[in-house]
């Protein structure tokens, strides 16, 4: 039974799926967003917060490109903080606590009101393929069949299954199939992908128990307020109107650790029931206690799940230890002596597809027109998922329109770093973005995401002309101010060099006879002065990087026939088949000498 024909099908309406569907539809393609339930759109499965170090940069970049996450966060945010304020601008990131309900509702409204975008309720049963016309693919996407037998046809499919592929939830030795609390898993997709020739692996993540706010004694807990005034995520948000709330800080005690330690053998992590690899940066409490016995106490942030709800998310005690142990240990935490758990913490294991199987457009190498985004690519986090959804949606639309793909590189955006890491590195744990992964960190700041990326958003048709013009005006004012600072001197020293001095601000130096700069312009001018020298050093490295990045490697290059490559490099290159020489340099086991050999062979081919 055929029940619809579209250009693009997006399967899964989480943070990746929403951005993918919005981008494809806004680029003019008839798009269906397939989700188990309309209410589940943009659900925050883990903690109700967006942003944080490096993740905040991703959201700002997505916003500059025309994505939705930043705007929705501004609408649903109940506590905003700019992290690392005491450090330099390159390592500052926005973070916002959100009203979980409101976030979901706002995103749903945007999705529902977007022309060409249709929501289809249903669970995907299998992906249908046909013979590929383009060389290099084993087959081509043709559509899907839902579990209840409906057929949806499309030549591009973005698959964003989150933790639902063979999702298995653990609380102690209790196992339940499901991708998220109270929701059924996607059982068939894994088999379907395996049949299509994909290799799958297994990862794990976890959540803490949720608490009833009325049963918490906040009176003796440290308060963590948000910024006043709150700084919005989106470059287009003027100010945050929603009333702001407080978070509280508490910590684990000796007694907490004792209970966890004595019951650790009952946790699926230690009993051997869990096979998937969990993230090191987000360990369960049992993991923390057992691996770091010398640490006497761990921090816990008590984060409200919303302005109107009474649920609290205790950030820091993710666990899958049995329910009775959860009940016992939470009560040893200051402020939680009489707490009521509204939902137990659990771990979830799920399938993912190791990422040597995707192109930098997130299209799979085997099935033409099939794209992967989010946790299926081995990442964790809403922000990481959202930017992948965007990249996949945009590229699906571009490909169907016969246009060149959209790939950001490592020198342009954190998004570029993330995608490049996915296609060049072996995923050993759920991948999360950190600022230390961006080698051009000083250039890729959250404050200049608009200056870096708006033009791409405009070119793609996802940023309006007036918005883009605003960015161009801002850029012009920045350049004028910088030129002026270089020209003018005080005591024989150019003004820009005076601003460079530690502790000096632009405001102290800016000539009084000139009109004051707008705040956003002044901020950029000051940072450019402060980072001068370093930015030039990095720009030079970028130049070299771009050269290698621009050297494409033909997809049919026979690495196994290149004798001069080291054995290690040969097998790695044959597996990953990098798109460019630059990507090849980042593969483990490929040395500079191997790259030299590749260069000579490329030259030999091109003549």
């Amino acid at each position: 039974m055929e029940s619809g024909s579209f250009d693009v099908l997006v399967i899964g309406a989480g943070h990746a799926g929403c951005e993918a569907a919005l981008a494809a539809a806004r680029m003019g393609l008839r798009t269906a967003l397939v989700t188990g339930a309309r209410e589940a759109i943009a659900r925050m499965s883990c903690n109700p917060a967006i942003g944080g170090l490096a993740k905040g940069q991703l959201v700002r970049e997505l916003d500059a490109l025309g994505g939705a996450m930043g705007r929705v966060t501004d609408d649903a945010g109940i506590q905003f903080r700019l992290l690392n304020r005491s450090k330099g601008p390159a390592v500052q990131s926005p973070r916002a606590q959100c009203d979980r309900r409101r976030y979901s509702d706002t995103m749903r409204q945007i999705v529902e009101s977007t022309p060409l975008l249709e929501i289809v309720e249903g669970l995907v049963g299998r992906i249908q393929v046909e013979r590929a016309e383009a060389p290099g693919y084993a087959s081509a996407a043709a559509g899907i069949v839902t579990e209840d037998g409906r057929e949806l046809r499309a030549r591009a499919i973005v698959l964003t299954p989150g933790t639902f592929m063979r999702g298995l939830m653990h609380v102690g030795d209790e196992k339940r199939e499901g991708g998220r609390f109270g929701e059924a898993p996607a059982r068939r997709i894994s088999e379907n992908l395996a049949a299509l020739g994909f290799t799958l692996g297994r990862l794990k993540t976890g959540t803490p128990p949720r608490l009833d706010a009325h049963t918490i004694d906040f009176s003796n807990l440290a308060v963590q307020p948000g910024d006043d005034p709150p700084v919005p995520f989106s470059f287009d948000t003027e100010r945050i109107g929603r009333p702001q709330v407080l978070c509280h800080l508490t910590h684990t005690t000796h007694e907490t650790h004792r209970i966890v330690r004595e019951n650790a053998h009952r946790a699926p992590m230690f009993s051997g029931a869990i096979q998937g690899t969990g993230p090191r940066y987000c360990p369960s409490l049992e993991d923390k206690v057992m691996r770091f016995p010398e640490v006497e106490s761990h921090r816990i942030y008590l984060e409200p799940e919303g302005a109107g709800t009474d649920e609290i998310y205790p950030n820091g005690i993710s666990t899958s230890i049995p329910a009775d142990v959860q009940e016992a240990f939470v009560r040893t935490i200051p402020g939680l002596a009489n707490v009521r758990i509204t939902r137990y913490g659990y771990a979830v294991e799920y399938d993912f597809a190791p990422t040597h199987q995707i192109h930098p457009t997130l299209e799979t190498k085997r099935v033409e027109g099939l794209y992967f985004a989010g946790q299926i690519c081995g990442t964790s986090g809403y922000e990481e998922a959202a930017v992948q959804g965007f990249v996949a949606g945009v590229n699906a639309a571009l490909k169907l329109s016969g246009k060149d793909p959209f790939v950001l590189d490592r020198s342009e955006a954190y998004i570029g770093v993330l995608v490049d890491d996915l296609v060049t590195k072996e995923i050993k744990e759920p991948y999360r973005m950190f600022t230390s992964q961006a080698e051009y960190r000083l250039l890729l700041r959250q404050d200049n995401a608009d200056r870096r990326l708006r033009r791409h958003g405009y070119r793609l048709g996802l940023v309006s002309k007036p918005t883009y013009d605003k960015t161009l005006d801002k850029e012009r004012l920045i350049q004028e101010a910088l030129a002026l600072l270089r020209r003018r001197h005080a005591d024989g020293v150019p003004l820009d060099q005076i601003v460079r001095r530690p502790g000096m601000t632009l405001a102290e130096v800016w000539p009084r006879d000139l009109p004051a700069l707008a705040a956003d312009v002044a901020q950029q001018v000051e940072i450019e002065c402060k980072y001068a020298g370093y930015v030039e050093r990095q720009a030079k490295q970028v130049e070299r990087f771009k050269e290698a990045e621009g050297k494409r490697i033909p997809s049919d290059l026979d690495y196994l026939a290149i004798q001069e490559l080291s054995a290690e490099a040969r097998s790695k290159l044959a597996l990953v088949r990098p798109a460019s020489l630059g990507q090849a340099t980042r593969l483990a086991g490929v040395s500079p000498a191997d790259i030299g050999v590749l260069r000579v062979h490329l030259k030999k081919r091109s003549g």
């Binding site: 944080g52 170090l53 992290l83 690392n84 450090k87 330099g88 390159a90 390592v91 993230p279 090191r280 940066y281 987000c282 360990p283 923390k288 691996r291 770091f292 640490v295 761990h298 921090r299 816990i300 942030y301 820091g316 890491d421 590195k425 950190f434 600022t435 230390s436 992964q437 080698e439 960190r441 000083l442 001095r501 530690p502 502790g503 402060k530 980072y531 370093y534 050093r537 990095q538 030079k540 130049e543 070299r544 050269e547 004798q563 001069e564 080291s566 980042r586 483990a588 040395s591 500079p592 000498a593 790259i595 030299g596 050999v597 260069r599 000579v600 062979h601 030259k603 030999k604 003549g607």
Partner: protein, 468 residues
């Protein structure tokens, strides 16, 4: 146009002259930052392919900067070996001077050349034709012998331990700094902010002490192929043999600058010969300057030059005339080569054998001696194969190169630590200090390979309990 690369083109160790080579869009700009022409005026105004006398300023390990005499040749694109802008700096072959100058060149905007990169660029830019691809691959492969693991293994246990400990300290400090940036919300005290300048200064001093103690020739580990000197008396058939070896398959165009009067004391050719399914590359050096035709060969200057060249402990192919008995000059020259890594070839193999050297030549060299005739070509392929095998063996186990890698590390890491310390001391932003510390960690790559991107996160996760 591509970025600018630099390499010390002569082998490590003392020698009469060292050559530093630059290629890339900023080659002349970078050269101008370290070299001052005697005639005054900007370097960029100087003509191509002329010997430019001048001075280089360098900072030796102890004491303030000083000047050294130097010569420079500019080769402008596209009329250069790589078809890019090139500069070739000739300085006295004092290892300390060469190391310090090389570090200055890197600080002035060039980067270390990768294995075979000059040759590869020449190839990519069309200077060498496609039929020479195999030879180019041979050069890259030969320099792969400089692989960091081998260099580290050859360093000797004490030095290896010291270098490893130094890298550990620098990387450890960077990990703490990165931890404080990426995990600010964890409530972990990675370190006391106030102590940062002091910690960097301590690292710098430890490094300086190690560098002073090691007294190794400093320079670029990836630079320069091994050099094989042809030594022999006049008319022994040396130059004819040289030509016949070089004209054989796999020889690349002469790398030496085509300026009369600057390099006439040595004629060099980079050769790349097949060995199994690989190729071996090295530089063959003829020495007509010392031992030209007739009387000039034995004059005092010639002998002095030869002595200085051999003091660099190069590889030597001693050429004996098969058509004449062992003569006094043979003996004198051979005495200079005794103790060096050397082989013997009997040239003019087509003439009736009159050479008799029993008891004169070291038994091992005598046993391995080959006979060749440049005139008939007999024995030339065998000689090439033997030399290629020898160069592979020698090159793979040359501790001098490992020591040069150690020296390069101390220079590059020291510079980066200086920048980090300066920033930290002035209270600069921590991410700027981190940027320089990252470069310091990268500076260890000649011995430890490039830092894996995951290294810092691995260190942080291994040591601290991260994660809310």
């Amino acid at each position: 146009m591509t970025d600018t690369i630099a390499a010390v083109a002569t082998p490590p160790g003392p020698s009469p002259r060292a050559i530093l080579r630059l290629s890339g869009v900023e080659a002349i700009v970078v050269a101008a930052r370290v070299f001052t022409p005697r005639s005054g005026g900007p370097l960029a105004a100087q003509p191509s392919f002329r010997w430019i006398e001048g001075t280089v300023r360098w900072e030796g390990a102890p004491g303030p900067g000083s000047l050294a005499p130097a010569g420079l040749i500019l080769m402008r694109a596209p009329k250069s070996y790589t078809r890019e802008e090139m500069a070739e700096l000739h300085v006295p072959g004092n290892p300390v001077l060469v190391g310090a100058l090389y570090a200055r060149i890197l600080a002035a905007g060039a980067r270390s050349a990768e294995p075979g990169e000059f040759t590869r660029r020449a190839f990519e830019n069309g200077r060498l034709d496609l039929t020479q691809a195999e030879a180019v691959l041979g050069v890259i492969d030969a320099e792969r012998g400089e692989d960091h693991r081998r260099a580290l293994a050859l360093l000797g246990e004490n030095r290896r331990t010291r270098a490893t400990a130094l890298r550990e300290s620098v990387a450890g400090l960077l990990a703490l700094l990165e931890g404080s940036l990426d995990f600010a919300e964890e409530g972990i005290d990675f370190f006391q902010d106030e102590s940062l300048p002091e910690q960097i200064r301590y690292l710098r001093e430890t490094l300086s002490a190690a560098a002073a103690d090691s007294q190794v020739p400093r320079g670029d580990v990836a630079a320069g192929l091994p050099r094989l000197f042809l030594v022999g008396k006049a008319n022994a058939g040396k130059s004819t043999l040289f030509n016949s070896l070089v004209q054989g398959s796999g020889a690349l165009p002469n790398l030496e600058s085509p300026v009369a009067g600057t390099t006439r004391d040595m004629i060099e050719a980079e050769v790349s010969w097949p060995l199994g399914n690989r190729a071996v590359a090295f530089i063959l050096v003829d020495t007509p300057g010392f031992l030209g035709e007739a009387a000039a060969c034995v004059d005092e200057t010639g002998h002095k030059l030869l002595a200085a060249a051999l003091a660099g402990r190069p590889f030597v192919l001693f050429v004996a005339d098969g058509g004449r008995p062992w003569e006094k000059e043979d003996g004198e020259l051979y005495e200079r080569c005794r103790g060096l890594a050397h082989r013997v070839v009997i040239a003019k193999g087509d003439l009736p054998r009159r050479l008799d050297w029993v008891g004169v030549v070291e038994p091992e060299a005598a046993a391995a001696a080959l006979t060749a005739s440049a005139r008939t070509g007999a024995g030339i392929p065998e000689l090439q194969k033997a030399l290629a095998e020898w160069m592979v063996d020698e090159r793979r186990s040359d501790p001098a190169r490992a020591q040069a890698a150690e020296g390069a590390i101390y220079t590059a890491v020291g510079e980066a630590l200086d920048r980090a310390w300066e920033e930290a001391r002035q209270g600069g932003a921590p991410e700027l200090v981190a940027a320089s510390l990252r470069e310091a960690v990268e500076g260890f790559s000649p011995l430890f390979g490039p830092a894996a991107p995951e290294e810092m996160l691995d260190r942080i996760f291994g040591k601290f309990c991260i994660g809310k």
